[in-house]
């Protein structure tokens, strides 16, 4: 598949999907998956020491490359990011598992988060910890799991999430509020206080 046609192709797939063609969604997943994998790999090659990739930036890059922005409706854009964040999560998790970086020390994540609170610096967490927590959340509240996935791996705004999930912005905001609090508790020490 060459790059020029990709853009047209993905735009068409998004349109078809929005019109109810479910197989368009599968095809779209395939294209986006290939693109994101390739991007992640390329990124890692030129990566500087000590830096890992930022999934939301990758997803946006993929969008710019794959989608003809002039002919794509805003809602389709949201759909794209919905699919892309799902795939991004899978890629990151696969990669982390494959490399067995053994960074899966919940301890590390907790310490970083706690320090970050004190200094108001952005906190970074391990992908596998996040993945596990998201899976757990989705097991009893699928919608909140979905909202958090879109936010973490796709960097979607509330409005975009609303479009992807067919919910009002207010509902998404409420869902996100709870999901965020629960995940934070889960990924830090406050989780153990809860005894769940």
């Amino acid at each position: 598949m060459n790059g020029v046609d990709d853009a047209a192709d993905v735009s068409v797939l998004l349109q078809a999907w929005s019109e109810g063609h479910v197989d368009a969604r599968d095809r779209l997943m395939e294209v986006v998956h290939q693109e994101l994998r390739r991007r992640a790999a390329a990124y890692l090659r030129r990566e500087r020491a000590g830096h890992t990739l930022q999934p939301t930036a990758l997803v946006h890059e993929a969008y710019l490359r794959l989608v003809d922005q002039k002919s794509t409706a805003w809602q389709n854009r949201a759909q794209f990011f919905g699919v892309a964040s799902q795939i991004m999560r899978r890629i990151l998790v696969d990669r982390a598992r494959a490399r067995k970086t053994a960074k899966r020390s919940g301890q590390w994540a907790r310490v970083t988060l706690d320090e970050s609170l004190a200094e108001q610096q952005p906190g970074y967490v391990d992908v596998l910890d996040v993945d596990a927590a998201l899976t757990e959340l989705a097991s009893f509240d699928a919608r909140k799991g979905q909202v958090a996935e879109l936010k973490f791996f796709g960097g979607l705004t509330l409005e975009e999430m609303g479009h992807v999930l067919g919910l009002s912005v207010a509902t998404v905001e409420r869902e996100w509020q709870v999901a965020r609090a629960w995940l934070f508790a889960r990924l830090t020490d406050s989780g153990s206080r809860r005894g769940t």
């Binding site: 990124y43 990566e47 500087r48 830096h51 890992t52 990739l53 930022q54 999934p55 939301t56 930036a57 946006h60 890059e61 922005q69 002039k70 805003w74 990151l92 988060l113 970050s116 609170l117 108001q120 952005p122 906190g123 970074y124 967490v125 992908v127 996040v130 009893f140 509240d141 958090a148 936010k151 973490f152 960097g155 705004t157 409005e159 975009e160 609303g162 479009h163 067919g166 919910l167 009002s168 912005v169 207010a170 409420r174 996100w176 509020q177 709870v178 965020r180 609090a181 629960w182 995940l183 934070f184 508790a185 830090t188 406050s190 206080r193 809860r194 769940t196």
Partner: protein
């Protein structure tokens, strides 16, 4: 975790967050009862919510920074990352030469060789270099080192506006001060032809000394370029509609964003129209309204105008004098004492149809009104509107608010606090929120939502009212078509996808306000208005294949309709029996039967889920006429519902309608009151009229009948009753006035559209008075020169009135910016445009839609002077109207001329009604 339990945890969590911090702990303890584990869960979640800081809002995973702290670029040493986004990373750096801090902006690592982004960075440098303004962060130069290239910018210490707002709304005076400086910055940019395109709180900094600096011209363009058409750049919540659609933009896109920023400062919320704090001055509300006009053509154009408005708002905010504060207290006290007591008579059993055996149970106890009840799906809660009327409350003076209460005897809880008119609250299918219709400035009917547990109302669906759910994902609601007042029923998904019209009234001025789908979704009951009056209800097929047929009692007005849960019965509120009561009819072809009775009226048909009870609003409406003159104020009518007063000569007689309830809110018998003797008299016994006009000599009346349907049309009668009343027309004519000598001007619907006609007093010489169609006739000047009409179409999205000449002459637009409503209950409230009977002055009522303020401006009128000379400032809005020579202002609406310049009549309306639960007949 069990889904039910989790659901419970989150409900309490949300309800707790909606409360003040101080009351939260007690609330959680209460809500959890003796379930200690539940309480621990909720408290842990709330604690995490507060501790989470920026968790999840900032990238979760480590980003690849372009520059390392400690590294250098040119002579600048990188200190720390200040912020990062798709368009760039900004670092604080130290200028080793000049010994000062600077900000350095570079492209993100992975975009460092992106030609488009590089070009944009260069553009930003050039545009900033052209700007030199104290409210814009300056550019010092460009730093280059190897492949790294960055802009060297003024480093502004202090929080961004976004950070400020995160801790809550900004107090009004400070917010206006900040807005004023932002406007200065934009003004400077616009004067250089530069559009910012990404104005948002995160791009604005407030220094410790109060100086505001606008940052980040990364998306700025030159006005003449119009931007990259087809590409959407910007930040979603602050983007103007045209920018979000990828259309060409100009400086008005910044005006929109400015409106968003100002609104966010005042409300503390990211929504271009979250309710403003109550104390927000009118001038600021208007300013926001004009900035946030979706159509750029209608939007405010010049930043200079914004500055001017902000200055006048800031001026108003100066602390009040002691005397005016004391006056305010006095007024508050007298309002508190003004509660009116009214006795209710409960439903009584009658021998006619099967009637309620169980006494009605009172659910609310207000001394004003509780209307528009709706029950939650589980039957535990009821939501309603307090303070409104049952007809559309549009144009009313009181504020109306959404309430919720637990059935049967929980405390009513107020959920909204904004000044907009509201009606029709309903529960969402999961009962987590209440969605209601609000009439926003510009006569926009929108749906808003508010959490049942309390919280800030949020927009739910624009241009959608009377909304109900059909299952979880589909909605049924009313939508205005084409920007006018033509409102019909549509269905769509909750995202407004798959939208499909079901029914639109045939006439452009018709408004189908409310609807209810049968449980099998094959039929829809429609509640509609036409010509300003409620019609009988209508049964329409859900597939929209036909306009359906009238249903329910046919000789009355129908204001609510609903289905029993088995689809066997249809319930209506109708005044077919003379006053509003609840009726039902078996689907599809039963006979309508009245099921509630009594001297009070009942409106509202909220069925409980068990199908055994009905919640309805029961009470009385009263309206009285007052005379205000040099000797003070006195009440001229005290009984019933009096309206539409006319006074011919000072101290002589006053005519008015006294509602008989036979057909409509706005119809009644004509009474006369002799002011000298106090004697009252029915002027034309047995004649029920919708409108009337007295001849200048006080001898004759022309009226439109609201009595038996066979009497429909225009009539004339002598007030001395020596000759019988004479019927002149037999159509749908609902307003007629005496015009020039021997002439009657009226509105009629010969086909599908309405036109103005004139005829002689004997009914001969009928001819069209104007070639074009109108949707309503408000009044006619006593000299017959001018008709005040509601145009068929709004102009530029604004609903104004027009003064059209009946004898050739330039028309004049009135009240364009102070939205007026020419139909509905306003017909009762008095026409907002009223000539005194001597023809020497005009009373113009200015009602700011939904904002709860109104006034009347009295203007001199003369037949022999062109309007443009008489009123050189025009009539478009309050400023214009009151700036005309000879204008005087009366600080209330619903004012009528009282036959002398020093006196006027006031019309005042009060409602007392409360919710009752009534057992339905089997």
């Amino acid at each position: 975790m069990e889904p039910d339990r989790w659901q419970h945890v989150t409900e309490i969590f949300h309800a707790a967050l909606a409360r003040d911090t101080a009351r939260r702990e007690v609330f959680v303890a209460d809500a959890c009862g003796d379930d200690a584990a539940l309480r621990t869960e909720v408290e842990a979640l709330i604690a995490a919510h507060h501790e989470a800081g920026a968790f999840g809002e900032t990238p979760l995973f480590e980003p690849a920074l372009s520059l390392e702290p400690g590294s250098t670029i040119g002579s600048y040493r990188i200190e720390e990352l200040l912020g990062a986004g798709g368009m760039g990373e900004v670092y604080r750096a130290r200028d080793g030469t000049l010994e000062r801090d600077v900000a350095i902006k570079v492209l993100p690592h992975h975009f460092a060789s992106d030609a488009e982004r590089l070009a944009r960075l260069r553009q930003e440098a050039r545009l900033l270099a052209a700007l030199n303004h104290p409210n814009i962060a300056a550019i010092y130069g460009v730093a280059e080192a190897g492949s790294d290239r960055g802009l060297v910018l003024e480093y502004v210490e202090g929080p961004t506006l976004a950070e400020r707002i995160r801790s809550g709304a900004i107090p009004l005076p400070e917010a206006l001060g900040i807005a004023r400086q932002i406007a200065e910055a934009l003004d400077a940019a616009h004067r250089k032809g530069i559009i910012h395109r990404d104005l948002k709180p995160a791009n604005i900094k407030v220094r410790g000394d109060g100086t505001v600096k606008v940052l980040d011209f990364g998306l700025a363009i030159l006005d003449e370029d119009g931007g990259e058409v087809g590409v959407v750049l910007g930040t979603a919540p602050y983007m103007s509609p045209e920018q979000a659609r990828g259309q060409a933009v100009d400086r008005r896109t910044d005006v929109w964003s400015f409106g968003c920023v100002l609104s966010e400062m005042l409300t503390g919320r990211t929504a271009d129209w979250a309710p403003l704090p109550e104390m927000t001055p009118l001038v600021v509300r208007h300013l926001l309204q004009r900035c946030l006009e979706r159509d750029p053509e209608q939007r405010l154009r010049e930043i200079a105008e914004i500055k001017h408005e902000l200055d006048s708002a800031l001026l108003q905010l100066r602390p009040p004098t002691r005397a005016s504060r004391a006056r305010a207290r006095l007024v508050a006290a007298s309002i508190a004492l003004a509660g009116v007591g009214l006795a209710f008579v409960l439903l009584r059993q009658t021998t006619r149809p099967p009637a309620a055996a169980e006494p009605a149970q009172q659910l609310t106890d207000f001394n004003d009104s509780a209307v528009h009840p709706a029950v939650s799906p589980d039957g535990r809660l009821v939501t309603f509107i307090r303070g409104g009327f049952f007809g559309t409350s549009a144009g009313g003076q009181t504020t109306v608010q959404v309430y919720v209460k637990t059935l049967p005897d929980g405390e009513p809880v107020q959920l909204t606090r904004d000044p907009y008119q509201k009606e029709q609250p309903v529960f969402s299918p999961d009962a987590s929120r209440i969605v209601y219709s609000a009439v926003m400035p510009g006569f926009k009917w929108d749906s808003w939502q508010v959490p049942v547990g309390g919280g800030a109302p949020q927009p739910f669906l624009r241009n959608a009212s009377g909304l109900v759910w059909l299952g979880d994902q589909r909605l049924l609601y009313s939508e205005i078509m084409g920007g006018g007042i033509h409102m019909g029923i549509v269905t769509s998904t909750v995202n407004r996808a798959d939208s499909r019209p079901i029914y639109f009234p045939q006439l452009g001025g018709g408004m189908a306000h409310r609807s209810a789908a049968s449980p099998d979704r094959n039929q829809v009951l429609v509640v509609e208005m036409n010509g300003g009056e409620w019609m009988s209800c209508r049964l329409v097929p859900f597939d929209g294949s036909s306009p359906g047929r009238p249903i329910g009692p046919l000789d009355g007005q129908c204001t609510t309709a609903t289905w029993s849960s088995d689809g066997q019965w249809m319930y209506f509120s109708s005044n077919a029996g003379g006053a509003f009561h609840v009726w039902r009819q078996r689907f599809p072809n039963g006979t309508p039967q009245q099921i509630t009775f009594g001297p009070t009226e009942q409106e509202g048909t909220a069925l409980t889920p068990d199908g055994k009870h009905l919640i309805t609003s029961m009470g009385l409406q009263q309206a009285s006429i007052w005379l205000k003159d040099a000797s003070g104020e006195r009440q001229l009518t005290s009984e019933g519902f009096a309206m539409l007063p006319t006074m011919l000569r000072p101290g002589d007689r006053m005519f008015y309608l006294l509602r008989t309830g036979s057909r409509g809110y706005a119809s009644g018998e004509l009474w006369s009151l002799n002011l000298a003797t106090g004697v009252r008299d029915r002027a034309l016994p047995g004649r029920v009229m919708a409108s009337y006009s007295i001849s200048a000599d006080g001898r004759r009346v022309v009226f439109t009948s609201a009595g038996d349907a066979s009497d429909d049309g225009i009539w004339v009668a002598d007030l001395d009753r020596h000759t019988p009343a004479k019927q002149l027309t037999r159509g749908d004519e609902f307003r007629a006035f005496f015009g020039g000598p021997g002439e009657i001007i009226y509105i009629s619907t010969p086909g599908e559209r309405r036109y103005l006609y004139r005829m002689r007093e004997d009914g001969s010489g009928v001819e069209r008075a104007r070639p074009e169609p109108f949707s309503n006739l408000i009044t006619v000047s006593p000299d017959g020169q001018w008709a005040v009409v509601v145009p068929e179409k709004t102009v530029g999205g604004r609903l104004g009135l027009q003064l059209v000449s009946l004898h050739g002459g330039a028309p004049m637009t009135a009240c364009e910016n102070c939205v007026f409503l020419g139909s509905g209950p306003n017909r009762v409230q008095g026409c907002p445009f009223n000539w005194s009977t001597d023809g020497r002055s005009v009373y113009v009522s200015l009602q700011y839609f939904g904002l709860g303020t109104s006034k009347t401006v009295v203007l001199p009128y003369r037949s022999d002077v062109p309007l443009a000379t008489l009123w050189p400032k025009g009539l478009r809005d309050e400023q214009n109207v009151s700036a005309n020579p000879g204008a005087t202002v009366i600080e209330e609406a619903n004012v009528f001329p009282a036959a002398s310049a020093s006196a006027h009549l006031s019309w005042r309306r009060s409602t007392q009604s409360n919710l009752y639960r009534v057992r339905l007949p089997d």
